[in-house]
């Protein structure tokens, strides 16, 4: 199914990160191939967010290498924007731009970064808004939408940049339960179309359905990498077992 022989789209080798004296990430190795879906899970504070934020350099790593689409990313590189345009990111707290309409939120990136005309950008934006089922709200402002709708807009905003890989940082954990399904549906559709995805989430249903691999992290290290069924039914490490029992316990 996956072409493992090709060069990976995202490749992290020996990556370390410190916040001051505190070692937030230690010796992270992970490669993600085109079309692959990776779910990252682990207890709070284990470094999941930090790891995916290093991929588009919202956080700078201090050791090891990260490459995206063949190009190495580093904290002091000049054209980091170029890389970020290939990497979509969806945040836990949506982070839509509240002073712009939904439509403007979506057209901003393509118009500013890709030199797309307003008309073309609007067409593109409407296309993606339809896909996430909120085309009717295009003229509204973000605070007027429900959390679930805002998150779907945020996904559409990332897609407008036609990214090669999408990063999701707990996209459903700020949502009311009845909103979660709508967002997950959009993500599943995206996965089925072959988008490369790295998703930090504790939604086990989603992981089972979509993920090629589950990465389990704890205390800044990758402890276990396995296929979802394998990981959920038969976790190898004690820490993963503890984590899963706590997750299911609630």
């Amino acid at each position: 199914m996956l072409d493992i022989t090709s060069k990976p789209l995202v490749e992290i080798t020996g990556m370390c990160k410190w916040y001051g004296e505190f070692s937030a990430l230690h010796d992270i190795n992970l490669s993600v191939h085109e079309g692959e879906k990776v779910v990252v899970c682990g207890p709070s504070g284990s470094g999941k967010s930090t790891m995916i934020r290093c991929i588009n350099q919202l956080e700078a790593h201090q050791k090891g290498t990260i490459s995206v689409n063949g190009a190495e990313v580093s904290p002091d590189m000049k054209n980091i924007e170029q890389i970020r345009r290939e990497v979509g990111m969806v945040f836990q707290s949506f982070n839509l731009f509240p002073h712009m309409t939904i439509l403007d939120n979506l057209t901003l990136g393509p118009m500013r970064n890709r030199g797309v005309s307003r008309a073309d950008a609007t067409d593109l934006a409407m296309h993606y808004l339809e896909r996430v089922h909120i085309a009717q709200q295009a003229e509204k402002y973000p605070p007027q939408l429900s959390g679930g709708q805002q998150q779907r807009v945020a996904i559409a905003r990332s897609l407008c940049m036609k990214p090669k890989v999408m990063l999701f940082d707990e996209p459903t954990s700020a949502l009311d339960p009845e909103m979660i399904a709508g967002v997950l549906d959009v993500m599943i559709e995206l996965a089925e179309e072959g988008m490369t995805m790295i998703v930090v989430t504790h939604e086990m249903g989603f992981a089972r359905k979509v993920a090629d691999r589950v990465v389990f992290m704890d205390e800044g290290e990758i402890i276990e990498v396995a296929e979802p069924e394998e990981f959920f039914n038969n976790p190898q490490s004690d820490r993963a077992q503890l984590f899963l029992s706590q997750l299911l316990g609630h």
């Binding site: 588009n56 919202l58 924007e81 170029q82 970020r84 345009r85 990497v87 979509g88 990111m89 945040f91 707290s93 982070n95 839509l96 731009f97 509240p98 002073h99 901003l108 990136g109 500013r112 970064n113 402002y141 007027q144 945020a154 905003r157 990332s158 940049m161």
Partner: protein, 301 residues
């Protein structure tokens, strides 16, 4: 019940006895002060002599001319408008630098703000005025511009910057004022930028916007809306502070008023009149800013 019935009227706001007593005492105080000035000081009011310095009538031709005080008011108005623009530019740049990661920029802006906030305005203006009028202006040849050159001797220039013969005088005052007020605008802008949630920076960067776009498209528009009220207050302070530059002989309203008060010896009339002029100017700006705030609030819905 009838759904279409009109809603009950809100209770009328009425003045209570306490309000009447308050108004009464204020009125009594005003009347008493007037009485003191009139009878005890034996002050001879002569408004016409001071009003002559607002508009002067040519006795022979019967034509009206605007006089010193109006010219001073014009200069104050120019100082206010240009000062606001310049202070905004300084404030936005410095305010952004205050929030930068780059240490050099942070040190520069921090020094600027602390220096100005911890020196009395008058002292700062004397020092800075000496510096620009003795060093910078001669260096760029501003002291001996030809007032009859085409650039200067046209009505547009005159409207924007006043009499070209007083150009270096005006610019010196303007720069002093803008540098001074810019420090306060800097702090307001910094607070506004820092009030924008971190997630906005991250989302803007994540879609690949360049640093300047992140600031211009995402951060500043949001910061500006948050700081419009304190900013408006600062600009009105700027108009009032412009009186300070009279000390370095910038020929604005307060400077002219000092002259008029000295020549006419009609101190009360002059300063009451000038106070009224400042009030109207500042209050108009306050109304304008309040309107701008409502517009901004509406566009946000």
């Amino acid at each position: 019940m009838d759904r279409n019935a009109p809603p009950p009227k809100p209770p009328k706001k009425r003045l209570t006895l306490v309000d009447y007593i308050l108004f009464g005492s204020v009125a009594a105080l005003v009347i008493f002060s007037g009485y003191r000035v009139n009878d005890v000081l034996v002050y001879n009011w002569e408004w016409s002599r001071v009003l002559n310095f607002v508009v002067r009538v040519d006795d022979e031709t019967g034509q009206y001319f605007t006089n010193l005080l109006v010219r001073g008011l014009e200069t104050t108005l120019r100082l206010a408008v240009w000062g606001t623009i310049l202070a905004t530019i300084i404030g936005v740049v410095m305010g952004y630098w205050r929030t930068c990661e780059n240490l050099t920029l942070r040190i520069i802006s921090r020094c600027y703000v602390e220096l100005i906030r911890n020196i009395p305005p008058v002292v700062f203006i004397f020092i800075f005025f000496f510096f620009i009028s003795s060093q910078i202006f001669p260096a760029i040849g501003l002291d001996d511009v030809d007032p009859d050159a085409a650039v200067f001797a046209n009505p547009v220039f005159h409207f924007l910057f006043g009499d070209p013969r007083l150009l270096s005088n005006f610019l010196a005052g303007l720069l002093c004022l803008a540098m001074f007020e810019g420090a306060y605008v800097t702090e307001i802008v910094r607070a506004g930028i820092q009030a924008v949630p971190k997630g906005q920076w991250e989302a803007a960067r994540a879609i690949g916007l360049s640093p300047i776009r992140v600031l211009g498209d995402i951060i500043l528009p949001q910061a500006l809306r948050k700081i419009l009220p304190p900013l408006a207050g600062q600009f009105i302070t700027l108009i009032k502070d412009s009186a300070i530059v009279s000390l370095i002989s910038i020929q604005e309203l307060t400077f002219m008023a000092t002259e008029v008060a000295a020549t006419t010896t009609k101190v009360f009339e002059t300063w009451i009149l000038v106070g009224g002029m400042y009030f109207i100017l500042c209050y108009s700006f306050a109304v304008l800013f309040a309107w701008l705030e409502r517009q901004a609030a509406r566009s946000r819905r």
